[in-house]
């Protein structure tokens, strides 16, 4: 479904021009961040491997655009896009990738563990599926506290086969918790086609086993993603429980920066890159409808480029991670013996 199709639906949600431009900018920003990350990897500036989000930007952008700061997310090994869309600081993200003390995790965590506890990012995660129960626990805590915030839980297609996913979704469904399970179906878990890992035609159908709604959208259509996510989060906020939201998408590159992805048919890769680019298609549609002109687009790209360059410079100029401090970082030393996690001193 193209953007114009979506608008011609006459759906209940009016998408104002400025919102589209915001979404466009957000996707461009995510991609620019990833491109710089890849360059840094190739230059040997980062450690380990990176799992890039290029090609999947519409999901993070579409899902997160309407979230509150107080809403939470859990992310994955392929987390950069989620973090940026939730509002993470790209400078501190780059600093983490470069192993700097100013990085989100002070160089201890790296790409797969970036968190920002001040804006509800409960961590990327290196273990497939492990974030799902964590998201459910966060949703439980929100209800326990009587708040109407929600949790968005991101994960890939292959993750739906993990025991952690199952136990967590069942719990959320049984307890009707405010969480949206966003399945980023990019068709592969590393080299394994989802067709060889799950017999379902649409992964959203897995929801039937939990008596929760399942919704499947074109994950490269940022407006379609946005609409579906708004509906799912609204349900969640109203106490109606979780939704499984499948977003069909594709990663342009290999599984990680050291993988060429050659197990995928060339034609498939070409199709998704050329015909289903979430960024290019939104630009095309907005240009077509006259909502934006090429010059405006160029400005967005230039601004984002500067923003990313600035963030990267910040990271480069930061001090490397501090080895000595690390040795004290395993346990939290409470300021007093009886401080609770909200920082209140208890009697």
């Amino acid at each position: 479904m193209s953007v114009t199709d979506y608008l011609s639906w006459g759906g209940s949600m009016q998408v104002r021009k400025q919102e589209k431009i915001d979404l466009y900018r957000l996707m461009v920003r995510i991609r620019a961040f990833e491109e710089q990350s890849f360059i840094s990897f190739n230059q040997g500036l980062t450690y380990g491997v990176l799992h890039l989000y290029i090609g999947e930007e519409a999901i993070a952008a579409g899902c997160m655009y309407d979230l509150r700061k107080e809403d939470y997310i859990t992310s994955t090994h392929r987390g950069h896009g989620h973090l940026i869309a939730k509002g993470a600081d790209m400078g501190r993200m780059f600093a983490e990738l470069l192993g700097k003390e100013t990085g989100y995790c002070r160089g201890r965590g790296g790409s797969m563990h970036i968190a920002d506890m001040t804006i509800g990012i409960l961590g990327a995660n290196g273990i497939v599926g492990a974030g799902v129960p964590i998201s459910v626990g966060a949703a439980f805590a929100l209800r326990y506290k009587g708040l109407d915030h929600v949790v968005l839980c991101f994960f890939g297609d292959a993750t739906i086969n993990t025991g952690a996913f199952h136990e967590a979704v069942n719990l959320a469904s049984t307890w009707k918790l405010p969480v949206v399970f966003v399945c980023e179906n990019n068709l592969y878990g590393i080299s394994v086609s989802i067709k060889n890992a799950c017999a379902l035609r649409s992964l959203a159908d897995r929801s039937a086993g939990y008596a929760i709604p399942g919704v499947c959208v074109d994950g490269n259509d940022v407006l379609a993603v946005r609409k579906a996510c708004i509906e799912a989060t609204a349900r969640a906020r109203k106490g109606e429980g979780p939704t499984l939201l499948e977003c069909q998408t594709y990663r342009w590159g290999g599984h990680f920066t050291a993988d060429d992805g050659k197990y995928r048919p060339d034609e498939e890769v070409r199709h998704w890159k050329e015909e289903r680019d979430p960024i290019g298609n939104l630009a095309r549609d907005m240009l077509g409808s006259g909502e934006i002109d090429q010059q405006e687009i160029d400005v967005i790209h230039r601004e984002v480029k500067e923003e990313v360059e600035k963030a990267f410079r910040y990271a480069q100029e930061s001090n490397p991670a501090d080895v000595d401090g690390m040795l004290r970082g395993v346990y939290y030393e409470s300021p007093t013996r009886t401080r609770n996690s909200k920082g209140e001193d208890l009697p």
Binding site: Y72, T74, G103, Y104, C105, R106, G107, R108, G109, H113, A115, D116, M117, L122, G123, N125, G126, I127, A130, V132, P133, I134, S135, V136, G137, A138, A139, F140, A141, L142, Y144, K145, G163, A164, E167, A168, N170, L171, T174, G329, V330, Y331, Y332, S334, R337, T338, R339, N340, S341, K342, L346, P347
Partner: protein, 323 residues
């Protein structure tokens, strides 16, 4: 002083901390209305209601993972895993998530989370319901490991654990629940990381924890009659470990026997032996002995499982062999 069972002490600790702090809640299989299969949460559902004491599905991964998520959002969960044997199901959440979150996020995340469980050989629950697995947990940096042996320690340590801002696995013992002991009045805490000398002695140091403290004390009585004065050090917490107390005692006695119920190979006793060698080598008058479970799954029939685990006689015998 009041006398109370270990089980009642656990309940009282939970009750007091839940009363004190509305962020504390209990979750686990059958912990609600039933009060736990060992009745170690009995009465709390009635007091605090199903919003703070509730049953979960049989989903150990989700229990631990959800407790972690709740802790990250500011609550102080006490999550129960019915048998320590089932921690294997949730080992990824325990080891890779709960224990490492604070470190991996560069100190941002705080994880005030207690996993309560119980272990040890009972009356024939066989290989999957009788293990002592603390050596897995002590090999996970970031996770504190608490294993009290008396009602009074159980209460004081559980309260301290709930107030601690780090993840803790709190391992009770199925045969301790019925044991009784004096409990101090009022809101007392027992510090994490402080061993307790349960009996003083000058001839040999017995280092032990959990139910084996009782067996060791019994062995020490037997030995006392023979004129051998054993000191019994109850570690109470394995991580952090009170190495000072161990070393001080071993320097005094020159002899160390380590007693644990877990199978010997790779048990936490090895760590203690290695540490003693590192810190008190010159004070040792004899090799360090480990009295531990033999290296087999726990069998079902009583004559078999009794052959596997230590008991007062075996402990006393080992001590005699050192002197």
């Amino acid at each position: 002083m009041r006398v109370m069972s270990y089980r009642e002490a656990v309940i009282e600790a939970l009750r007091e901390e839940m009363t004190r702090d509305g962020n504390v809640f209990l979750m686990g299989e059958d912990v609600g209305r039933m009060g736990g299969v060992f009745q170690a949460t009995a009465g709390l559902w009635e007091t605090f209601g199903p919003s703070r004491v509730f049953d979960t599905p049989i989903s150990e991964v989700a229990i631990v993972g959800a407790a972690l998520g709740a802790a990250l959002v500011g609550l102080r969960p006490v999550a129960e895993i019915m048998f320590v044997d089932f921690t294997g199901v949730a080992m990824d959440q325990i080891a890779n998530q709960v224990a490492k979150f604070h470190f991996m996020t560069g100190g941002q995340a705080i994880v005030p989370l207690v996993i309560r469980t119980q272990g040890g050989v009972g009356f024939g629950d066989a290989a999957q319901h009788s293990q002592s697995l603390e050596a897995w947990h002590t090999h996970i940096p970031g996770l504190k490991v608490v294993m009290p042996s008396t009602p009074s320690d159980a209460k004081g340590l559980l309260k301290t654990s709930i107030r601690d801002d780090n993840p803790i696995i709190f391992i009770e013992h199925k045969l301790l629940y019925q044991t009784e002991g004096p409990i101090p009045e009022g809101d007392y805490l027992v510090p994490i990381g402080k061993a307790d000398i349960k009996k003083e002695g000058k001839d040999v140091t017995i280092i032990t924890w959990s139910k084996m403290v009782l067996d060791s004390l019994e062995a020490a009585s037997l030995l006392e009659e023979e004129g051998i004065h054993a000191e019994v050090v109850d570690l109470r917490t394995l991580n952090p470990l009170d190495l000072d107390t161990i070393i001080f005692s071993v320097k005094k006695t020159g002899r160390a026997v380590i007693v644990h119920e877990a199978c010997k190979t790779g048990g936490f006793g090895a760590e203690i032996a290695a540490l003693i060698v590192e810190k008190a080598f010159d004070y040792l008058d004899a090799p360090i002995q480990r009295i531990a479970g033999i290296d087999t799954p726990i069998p079902y029939a009583a004559p078999l499982y009794r052959a596997v685990i230590p008991n007062p006689d075996k402990i006393a015998q080992a001590v005699r062999g050192l002197l």
